[in-house]
Symmetry: C2
Subunit: 461 residues, 2 copies
């Protein structure tokens, strides 16, 4: 009755792994591929490197349904001393900052390692060299779930003769290849649509897939941003003040926040009833609460800037969708940046028409968040709702039609519905932008279809 227990964080995630997408051997194999591929794309494109990714799944023991997954990239690599924590410590990441990447939680690799060691009892094998590193490092690592720290089973380092940089990872896990195959294939193709600048060579037990690089143009690499005044709460403000090193309130606002110049800061502080020259660290807790409240209420802030975002852009979307879907025509739109709760976001949409797209009674929907294809939980995603409620008749589309819709949301804070990153929770500002993006793209389709109709009429006279 009164027996309480504290669970260490790594043990908690091992026991509740379905929250991160590791429900069963089928989902776990799919999720392992996702975590490795998304890390590789984050380690390349974000730093201006054209991604080249090798991915291999082998059946290791049919009877036990053990498979191995191997992923290798040409990214920035991981410094030798950091490899143990990167793979062996839950909530260890380089992505806890205001900048768009696919990774956000600092959990992905650790879930892969926890699932692998819980099912096959084998370590993860890692080989990596950072940019300009003289050495290549190799490790075998497991996680001590009691202390949330890496267990190093083996460690090697040797000269990096050919100036290689990148990361290679191999894990052994219980996985159902046949049940997961279709989803994995789908995931990789959808990745090639949104990232046509990536080259992905996949080899599975009974199939091969080569997704060629369709363009060498990369989307703009996102910069690192500052929080917008509307996005902070009291605890966050306390942490920022602790790092403010003796600034005045005026300096603090100008230096630590996005979209706050000297003029705006002065006007705001007067409106809010604060002394601009007071030392930030002299604020009482009540004054901090008041400051946060006023920041949220103030209507005069500039919009959050969007340099920290990295949309795909209409041109690349069109290249990707045409190449992979075999569409006759693709119309893409990138909306202007908007924000919710102080977090900037951009919605992009594309409609792909005809060609090899199979006709169906409702549009095929390809959902993306920060360039990650979302395949599961479509019913819980606001994008499905937007596409189903859209009035296609106004845009000359009658069903069955060969129509695919791509909806991509990018943001410094995607409101995921779960740690498995499979659906976007409902946020009114995002939903509105999805509708508008879809409308803009559909208008272009309507124009194309009317022109085609006219040509057909001319032709048939």
């Amino acid at each position: 009755m009164y027996a309480y227990e504290a669970l260490p964080v790594a043990e908690w995630f091992r026991r509740n792994r379905e929250l991160a997408g590791f429900h069963n051997p089928t989902r776990a194999l799919y999720q392992t591929v996702r975590e490795l591929v998304e890390n590789s794309l984050d380690a390349t494109e974000t730093y201006g490197i054209l991604p080249t990714i090798y991915l291999r799944i082998n059946i290791e023991d049919e009877q036990k349904s053990w498979v191995s997954v191997y992923a290798e990239d040409n990214g920035i690599g991981i410094p030798g001393a950091e490899i143990p924590n990167v793979f062996g410590r839950v909530f260890y990441s380089s992505k806890y900052r205001i900048k768009q990447h696919r990774g956000v939680f600092g959990l992905g690799l650790k879930m892969v390692v926890l699932y692998a060691q819980s099912t096959t009892n084998k370590p993860v094998y890692v080989r990596s060299a950072a940019l300009k590193s003289d050495k290549i490092y190799e490790y075998q690592i497991m996680i001590d779930t009691n202390s949330n720290s890496p267990i190093i089973l083996d460690r090697k380092e040797y000269p990096n003769k050919y100036r290689w940089h990148g990361t290679a990872v191999k894990v052994y896990l219980e996985g159902s290849w046949l049940a997961a195959k279709k989803r994995i294939e789908d995931y990789l193709k959808r990745t090639a649509i949104i990232a046509p600048y990536a080259e992905i060579a996949f080899k599975g037990p009974d199939m091969e897939l080569w997704l060629k690089r369709r363009t060498t143009k990369l989307p703009p690499a996102p910069k690192e941003g500052l929080p917008h005044p509307k996005s902070v709460d009291v605890d966050t403000l306390k942490q920022m003040v602790a790092e403010s090193r003796g600034m005045t309130l005026l300096e603090f606002l100008m230096e630590s926040f996005d979209a706050v110049g000297e003029g705006t800061a002065k006007v705001f502080l007067e409106w809010a009833g604060f002394n601009p020259n007071m030392k930030v660290t002299a604020m009482t807790p009540e004054e901090m609460v008041k400051l946060v409240e006023k920041m949220k209420q103030y209507g005069g802030w500039r919009r959050p800037r969007s340099e920290w975002l990295s949309p795909v852009g209409a041109e690349l979307l069109e290249i990707g969708a045409k190449a992979i879907l075999g569409a006759e025509a693709v119309f893409a739109v990138t909306r202007k940046p908007e924000s919710y709760g102080g977090h900037p976001f951009i919605v992009e949409a594309a409609v792909a028409w005809g060609g090899q797209i199979p006709p169906s009674d409702k549009p095929v929907l390809l959902r993306y968040a920060n360039k990650i294809p979302l395949l599961y939980d479509e019913g819980a995603d606001v994008a499905r709702k937007v596409v189903d409620e859209f009035n296609w008749q106004n845009y000359k589309v009658k069903f069955p039609a060969s129509l695919a819709v791509i909806i991509h949301v990018c943001s410094t804070k995607i409101p995921y519905a779960s740690a498995g990153k499979e659906a976007i929770a409902e946020v009114p500002e995002i939903e509105k932008e999805m509708r508008l993006a879809l409308r803009d793209a559909a208008k272009k389709l309507r124009l194309y279809l009317s022109r085609k109709e006219k040509e057909m009429e001319m032709f048939n006279r």
Copy 2:
């Protein structure tokens, strides 16, 4: 580029609070009510106490949209020394055992406290006395998110003159009462359907709701169970072996697992090729992997027992549904225990017909997991799929119809799709049982409708 950071667990959950249902002021208010009410029900019914719960929501500051939530119960209470960790330490719980409760994560209260302190900077106020406690303890607590430990702002204790036992909690948070009102009302009514033995008195800013106790019959209190041989993985086995205090393999199987008698253990160990008299701690890691693999493959285990489950039962389901829905007739079914992955589960279903249920084109679906009403993410829940695919025509139901369907899954391990516990992930064994339970309940409805038809015919002659 190579700057890594480790986030403390409490800080990580504070930043990613939408994963646990605290997306915005509306959802956070709803989720706070859920966490407090579910804890109170776990602290009463599970120990054979008829629940009496007072719940109050007050507007504290209209302009800042600060509200307070107060919940008081007559449960087993919390020992004084445990109160700080219970409220101030993420992953601290009495429910990390094989037994059905609503709570499973050891996170609920901490999310409430983290959200409250992040928005209003106020502590949680707690008053509690355990059963037979001479004293009543009062605390004011916040969470230090760097060290994941309670900050005690105030502590009092005084004599427990009237032998009270229970827990009272008050928090101040940013919450949108008007936006959350409908869901909170819905949630409390759905709680009263599944727990007609509970008395819940709610007072909100502009409404009152008194859910009377409809019966003094309580469902069977669940016992505490052992893991089934099919439900363990390698890491879990390692932990169990570490606690086995020098047993032989034979003793270990008989003592530490559910549904394993001496006979079964001997037969299994022979089949699997293990020496029954070997000391468990002498097993190598490879042998442990082999043991787990053989335990999963062995077809001769008995089914997992279900003493650790606590279904509602057809009788209580009918009482609850009739009283709250105002149905003309209710037909409920409780299926026999089944299992998935070694975890026992039971599915119950009820169909409520006519009376005050408004007619609609598809059945109203009331979903429950371990007696928790699930209101959000219906699209991601397998129960919605089962009800929509059901062939109602075969059961004399034509739409629009006044029909409500209740589906309840209870298990020692509900496969939740997220930490907010709003939807059940797809597990084939559970889905199958839902279909069968729905069929059984619908058959009873069909019988009732045919009889009614006949009576009408007789009447109209």
